[in-house]
């Protein structure tokens, strides 16, 4: 997935994304508005929603603060239940670990349940180069995999597609007669994937939460593909972000419910899988490998302000509420995670130089923070990201002299009068009295300074009276 490296690239990406629809209706706009409305409806069902959200936020922050200790408890539980633990310092490490597990067992195909972390570590392309076929089984992921592109949303990978796109895709890639009916298309996917599930030599699942109290690896799904790949194959690889730990079953229950309500407007998702370890008998996974990925999370944890972002439960509500995301979709952001959370997380994970435009891709309206189930202060963190980006510019920053001039102009009377006098002189020379500012002046008339400032006029009136 290419990363736009400059704010101008973001504009280019956005334009490309809009042009692809020829000025027509945008799928992400319709889908995100619908998603936000259903989220609001479900939130309203809990009369004490805000109190509950506050408690969940507090518990989540406690978990994040206590991650080191919780991991100690978890490791005891995991060892007790026979889970093989692998620690991955970064994406490359994670890729090597996963490849090695599969190679050692002569496995050349792995069925994947949806995992944004697996996108973050870019495992799919790597496995292909290693002679292993990764097959996405979540319908949205299956679709974007066939299209050879990245998901454009955290929970709805095909947010950027219309049914006609999927219909054409299936007709082209699966050789079936064209249909654009979502029910028919889903039936086709069910049929195609069923045989693959039944003979899969390995499965990969994402871990939404690990429960410290019992060691359970929890996966939240709706389609049943998560259950297929954590129940049928003999080998299961579970992929977990270091921060995805919750203290107890009680906390899990709360997190799951607010995740469902925030992500898809459901009271509960169809399935909550709780995998405690490998099974003894012939059926099911005799081996469960847990790959715990750091990839910048521990560094974020060290910074008490940045640490708040580790509360994120990847619901995607902020994407759905964001007016910028609603207009441009996920792909223009570049990087794994789009939208408000992505704009904060990407520079934190990859360094401000790697994702320079992210904190600026926002109008700071605050809708994201309003819907965030764990109250991450996204606008504040975006501003902090902007500051870090500017600070990282080095010794010469073209904005510095401009701000210095502005400060002089606004804090010294002489500075103010001299600058405005100059401006008054200059504006009379501009043709049509319209200052050309790219983008801004397309829809606005330039405000003009009066030929004489009020303070001069007042002085002369005063004299007249006297």
């Amino acid at each position: 997935m290419s990363h736009p490296s400059h704010p101008r690239d973001l504009k280019k990406q956005v334009n490309r994304s809009l042009k692809a629809r020829d000025g027509g209706p945008l799928p992400f706009k319709k889908n995100t508005i619908k998603a936000t409305r259903t989220r609001d409806l479900r939130a309203a069902e809990w009369p004490d929603f805000e109190e509950r959200r506050d408690r969940i936020t507090e518990r989540r922050q406690q978990a994040v603060d206590g991650l080191k200790e919780l991991h100690e408890s978890l490791r005891k539980q995991w060892s007790k239940h026979g889970i093989t633990i692998h620690d991955a310092a970064d994406a490359a490490d994670a890729r090597a670990i996963i490849t090695s597990i599969l190679h050692q067992r002569g496995i050349s195909e792995i069925l994947k349940s949806k995992s944004m972390l697996s996108e973050e570590i870019e495992i799919n392309n790597h496995l292909v180069t290693e002679g292993i076929e990764p097959l996405e089984t979540d319908l949205g992921e299956y679709i974007v995999q066939l299209r050879n592109e990245a998901p454009s949303h955290i929970t709805m990978p095909g947010m950027h597609l219309f049914r006609q796109d999927v219909g054409q895709l299936f007709a082209d890639k699966l050789g079936i007669p064209y249909t654009e009916d979502p029910s028919e298309l889903t039936k086709i996917a069910r049929k195609v994937l069923r045989q693959r599930f039944l003979h899969a030599p390995a499965g990969m699942i994402g871990v939404n939460f690990a429960v410290a109290e019992t060691g359970h690896l929890v996966t939240v799904t709706n389609e049943g593909n998560g259950r297929m790949v954590n129940t049928l194959p003999p080998v299961v690889i579970a992929l977990m972000g270091w921060e995805r730990v919750t203290q107890s079953m009680a906390d899990l229950g709360e997190l799951w419910q607010i995740l469902a309500r925030s992500a898809t407007g459901q009271r509960a998702t169809s399935y909550l899988s709780l995998l405690q370890g490998p099974s003894q008998g012939p059926g099911g996974p005799g081996e469960v490998h847990l790959v715990i990925v750091d990839n910048g999370r521990k560094a974020i944890h060290e910074d008490p302000e940045a640490r708040e972002v580790l509360r994120c439960i990847r619901c995607g509500a902020c994407l759905n509420a964001c007016p910028v995301y609603q207009q441009v979709g996920g792909h223009p952001y570049g990087g794994t995670y789009p939208g408000p959370i992505g704009s904060v997380l990407t520079p934190l994970l990859n360094g401000p130089k790697e994702a320079p435009h992210h904190p600026f891709a926002s109008s700071l309206c605050g809708a994201c923070e309003e819907v965030c189930p764990v109250k991450i202060p996204l606008p504040k963190m975006l501003l902090e990201g902007r500051k870090q980006r500017v600070d990282s510019r080095g010794s010469f920053d073209p904005e510095k002299p401009i701000w210095a001039m502005f400060r002089w102009m606004m804090t010294s009377r002489y500075g103010y009068e001299a600058t405005t006098k100059l401006a008054r002189l200059g504006q009379s020379l501009i043709p049509g009295h319209q200052v050309p500012l790219p983008g801004w002046s397309d829809h606005r008339d330039s405000p003009m300074l009066a030929p004489k400032p009020f303070r001069d006029l007042f002085d002369s009136w005063d004299k007249e009276k006297a």
Binding site: G140, G224, N225, T231, M249, Q257, A268, Y271, P282, G284
Partner: protein, 189 residues
């Protein structure tokens, strides 16, 4: 049978596309016959759950000419297991009991089973869930607590809320993706 006490549960279940059937324990035989005819059931996967044994479900199914698939014995090879999975996928219904059901959401916690028993509620296109009235709890928090208090929040489990679903294409709801397409809750009152 229509008992008003369960109207709000029925509504919640309807909202997650789950059917509620109220049954008196001694009327089990008739219910099984009706359901078998209605669903054209010729093969059923059924586990060793206590409640299912108490209700004599296996005998009732056999009486109605339904072939049964039971859990693995434990000595099967990997090849045997894949064949058994294939047979499960060809069954018409999978039958389980549960730890309990949360009335707020209609969620059923399936007890920590072996993976083959978990596969019974996953592979067949229809899932029949049996529970006694006393197993109804108000919400998910209570359901998880019930599981823990019974001293067996051990083992791998799954919480099921209705049939499998997706809205990945234009946010249009489609039921029956990889998991079951239909779920029926049989409440023994």
């Amino acid at each position: 049978m229509n008992d008003k006490r369960f109207d709000s549960l029925r509504r919640v279940l309807e909202e997650i596309d789950t059917e509620l059937v109220l049954v008196q324990a001694d009327a089990m035989q008739g219910i099984v016959r009706t359901q078998v005819e209605r669903g054209s059931i010729s093969t059923a996967a059924i586990g060793n759950d206590e409640l299912l044994k108490d209700l004599e479900l296996s005998s009732h199914l056999l009486e109605n000419g339904v072939g049964l698939i039971g859990p693995l014995k434990g000595d099967e090879t990997r090849q045997d297991v894949e064949e058994w999975h294939q047979a499960l996928a060809g069954a018409d219904v999978g039958i389980t009991s549960c730890v309990g059901v949360a009335s707020e959401t209609g969620s059923a916690l399936l007890p920590p089973h072996t993976p083959d028993e978990r596969a019974m509620s996953l592979l067949p296109p229809v899932h029949w869930l049996f529970l006694r009235e006393e197993q109804l709890v108000p919400d998910i928090g209570s359901l998880l607590k019930t599981w823990q208090d019974a001293g067996n929040s051990s083992g791998s489990a799954v919480m099921v809320t209705g049939p499998s679903r997706t809205a990945d294409i234009e946010k249009e709801l489609v039921l029956g993706v990889h998991g079951p397409q239909a779920v029926t809750l049989f409440l023994i009152i």
